[in-house]
């Protein structure tokens, strides 16, 4: 009897093991569904604000309508998880057919052979785009994506806080943008008029945004990398000027002490809370700003030797191994004049097609706001783009984040900081 019971129990154990092993196949097996005869499915992963999500949904419906039997499965994920997931999926061989990526990320993925080379299929589209953005989706002379939109930062201000400091007129063109000295003078005035718990300004260089500090470097006439993109060029008088200038933001209490490059709080959050009078912010934040409980306006980023801007915006890229033909068709569709116009118009973003430059895309923003961003975007140069899109961008971002934090908050000298950035950057690009 006991033998029978043991046999029964052993059998049950073996059965449970078999069931477990069988179920394990579900962890590694191919996803169910997918394309069957007569129907084609495309997977598309992106992060998206509410307005972007609505625009993507509309465009996907249009693509499906124009291509009978085609289904596009969008996967909207939080930005914070986007690239950890994409990296894991690429490693595991189950990446989406198409995903959205920042311009600075394309070189890294392309260098690792993870992206579909679009040179032959979409190379003919090159002339339709603003050259800097086609450059931004290219690596080693080959195109690996399509520039879907761009965004840029400008100075957004709280009108009443500015007025309380006696500042009531603002630059209304790129030419009349505040100089570094004029901007510093405005912050000095604000510091005198604001209570200690409020601050004149917050820069948007937090949470992997440290490359935005390069705007100050470029405006001061400096470079991060030399023309060959193989050596650092930051140890220079322009580098010293940009770093000394931005270090003073913290030393003079012009920005909140917790708004450094390693802060976990976005600058726009403190501005919306009424803690800062000004913030550098991207146009993609305008839908949120419309809910501000105070009057606000927008003006240009300060300039020094020249005006400058961060390379905001994103491209769409395709991966290898899926339905490459359909993925290419989808990318082509997403950068048609109509699709880009719809996307940028609804999501308050800027186009990358030359045919749309200067056109009103029906942005739902207060009058006069979007033209400032449109003008500001013209300050980015091809040389800036080349430095911001090297394959080692991810490592460079880490170097900038750590070293700027040390300079801003831990008393690290300007000379040491520039030397450390140079060493870190050269190690990254080597």
């Amino acid at each position: 009897m006991s033998v029978t019971r043991r046999t029964l129990l052993a059998g049950a154990g073996a059965a449970s093991l078999t069931t477990l092993l069988a179920s394990c196949a579900g962890f590694t097996g191919q996803p169910s569904g997918g394309s069957s005869k007569g129907s084609r499915t495309l997977t598309f992963t992106t992060w998206a604000s509410d307005t972007e999500k609505a625009a993507y949904t509309k465009l996907i419906a249009g693509f499906e309508k124009a291509n009978t039997g085609v289904t596009v499965k969008p996967n909207f994920v939080p930005y914070a998880q986007m690239f950890t997931n994409i990296d894991a999926q690429l490693s595991a061989g189950n990446a989406p057919d198409v995903f959205r990526a920042g311009y600075g990320q394309i070189g890294g993925y392309a260098k690792q052979g993870q992206l579909l080379d679009l040179s032959s299929s979409l190379g003919g589209e090159k002339s339709r785009f603003i050259p800097a953005f086609w450059e931004a989706v290219s690596y080693d002379g080959r195109a690996y994506g399509v520039p879907q939109q761009t965004d840029t930062s400008a100075i957004v201000y709280n009108t009443s806080l500015m007025r309380s400091a006696g500042i009531s007129s603002f630059p209304d063109s790129l030419d009349s943008a505040w100089s570094f000295d004029e901007f510093a003078a405005a912050m000095r005035k604000l510091r005198s008029s604001l209570p200690a718990s409020k601050f004149p300004f917050a820069d948007n260089w937090q949470l992997a945004g440290s490359p935005r500090w390069l705007t100050w470097l470029f405006a001061a006439g400096g470079r991060l990398l030399d023309e060959d993109l193989t050596k650092s060029a930051i140890v220079s008088s322009a580098g010293t000027k940009a770093l000394d200038y931005t270090k003073a933001f913290f030393d003079e209490q012009w920005v909140p002490q917790n708004s450094s490059t390693k802060s976990n709080t976005y600058a726009d959050t403190t501005w919306l809370a009424g803690t800062t009078a000004m913030v550098s912010a991207g146009n993609f934040l305008l839908p949120e700003f419309t809910g501000a409980k105070f009057d606000w306006g927008v003006t240009y980023l300060p300039k020094d030797v020249r005006g400058a801007d961060d390379l905001g915006g994103n491209a769409l890229v395709a991966t290898k191994g899926g339905d490459e033909e359909l993925a290419t068709e989808f990318l082509k569709y997403m950068v048609t004049d109509d699709a880009m116009s719809t996307f940028c118009g609804e999501a308050l973003e800027l186009p990358t097609l030359t045919s749309l430059v200067g056109k009103d895309l029906g942005w739902d923003a207060p009058k006069g706001v979007m033209p400032v961003f449109v003008d500001q975007a013209t300050t980015i140069t091809a040389a800036d783009v080349a430095q911001l899109t090297v394959p080692a961008s991810a490592q460079i971002t880490t170097v900038l984040t750590d070293e700027l934090e040390a300079a801003f908050r831990q008393g690290q000298s300007t000379a040491t900081t520039l030397r450390n950035i140079a060493a870190g950057v050269e190690k990254a690009v080597a």
């Binding site: 052993a10 093991l17 477990l20 490693s91 718990s197 803690t275 880490t398 934090e405």
Partner: protein, 315 residues
């Protein structure tokens, strides 16, 4: 049965010694197989989701790998780099400080609350629930709550301090204050668990011991020191191990609350490894950090087991 002796029956029915051994071995083998078949599902899960990735991570720690393509074998290169990496040593020091602080505070508070709430107080179940409730809050949610509390510009703590005419504390821009914020949020989340374990331990101590001690004239402190504390030894040992492991593994709360900053003031070994793996894409280096963490934890557990072997105190 006539003519058949008992000895003959015994001789006829008895198996030879060798056969008996074989039968016993078979029974033992069968017993073993049954045991393993019961353990198999857990062993398979453990192997697939713990030991196999652990083995891969160990191999990866000797490689240079960005997450794509084939890892490049570099021997002990990553470990050599770790030795000269100031951020690694800072992360190790931070993790040690954090572990000691959270251990002392959460065990002390857990014990104090357990002793208090073991007594027949009015509303005792409500108080127990309130203290235990934070344990069900995820680390990410704790971190977000921490941001609301400790934000320098909009947080409730600094607003309350300013309203009371006191200076605000730079919870996010001062390294020490940021570490204190992380420790406080961790202690808040963990004290309830420690209290429950101690409560279970307290309920295992017979009241006659306290009655006898009282008859002998022992005061409250003497009763606690000589009866309660020693008899809670097994609970303390269990909590010590669990809390040290939890503290060394802290990630989500730090990631959300401070991101390891300001500077590297709250960077822990886990957040450092994450940053190396997923921000700078040096996954081999990150795996080496993970291996160091594993060795430290194994060493700690080994020392603890050795020191505490046979030291369980019972009534």
């Amino acid at each position: 049965m006539t003519g058949v002796t008992a000895g003959a029956v015994a001789a006829a029915t008895a198996r030879p010694p060798g056969s008996r051994r074989t039968s016993r071995r078979r029974a033992r083998l069968s017993e073993t197989l049954v045991g393993y078949s019961f353990a198999a599902p857990n062993l398979v899960l453990l192997g697939v989701f713990l030991l196999y990735p652990l083995g891969l991570a160990a191999v990866l720690s000797f490689s240079r790998y960005s997450g794509f393509g084939t890892p490049e074998w570099i021997g002990i290169g990553n470990y050599a780099d770790l030795l000269s990496d100031a951020v690694f040593w800072r992360a190790l020091a931070n993790t040690t400080v954090f572990t000691i602080a959270t251990l002392v505070l959460s065990l002390g508070l857990g014990l104090a609350l357990a002793v208090l709430l073991d007594k027949p107080l009015p509303g005792r179940p409500v108080f127990r629930t309130i203290v235990y409730a934070p344990i069900v809050v995820s680390g990410v949610a704790s971190g977000l709550i921490g941001v609301l509390i400790f934000d320098e510009n909009t947080g409730v703590v600094d607003k309350a301090l300013i309203a009371a005419g006191l200076p605000a504390v730079p919870w996010q821009s001062n390294g020490t204050a940021a570490m204190v914020a992380v420790i406080l949020m961790t202690v808040w989340g963990r004290t309830g668990f420690n209290m429950v374990i101690y409560l279970a331990g307290l309920q295992g101590i017979g009241p006659e011991l306290y009655e006898a001690a009282e008859l002998e004239g022992a005061g409250a402190w003497q009763r606690f020191r000589s009866i309660t504390f020693p008899l809670l030894g097994p609970s303390t040992f269990f909590l010590l191990i669990m809390n040290v492991i939890y503290s060394f593994q802290v990630f989500d709360l730090v990631f959300v609350l401070t991101g390891g900053g300001p500077g590297n003031a709250t960077t822990m070994l886990t957040t450092f490894a994450y940053s190396e793996a997923f921000t700078t894409r040096m996954q081999g280096y990150a795996a080496a950090i993970g291996m160091v963490l594993l060795v430290l934890m194994l060493a700690f557990a080994g020392v603890q087991w050795r020191l505490n072997r046979g030291r369980d105190v019972t009534e």
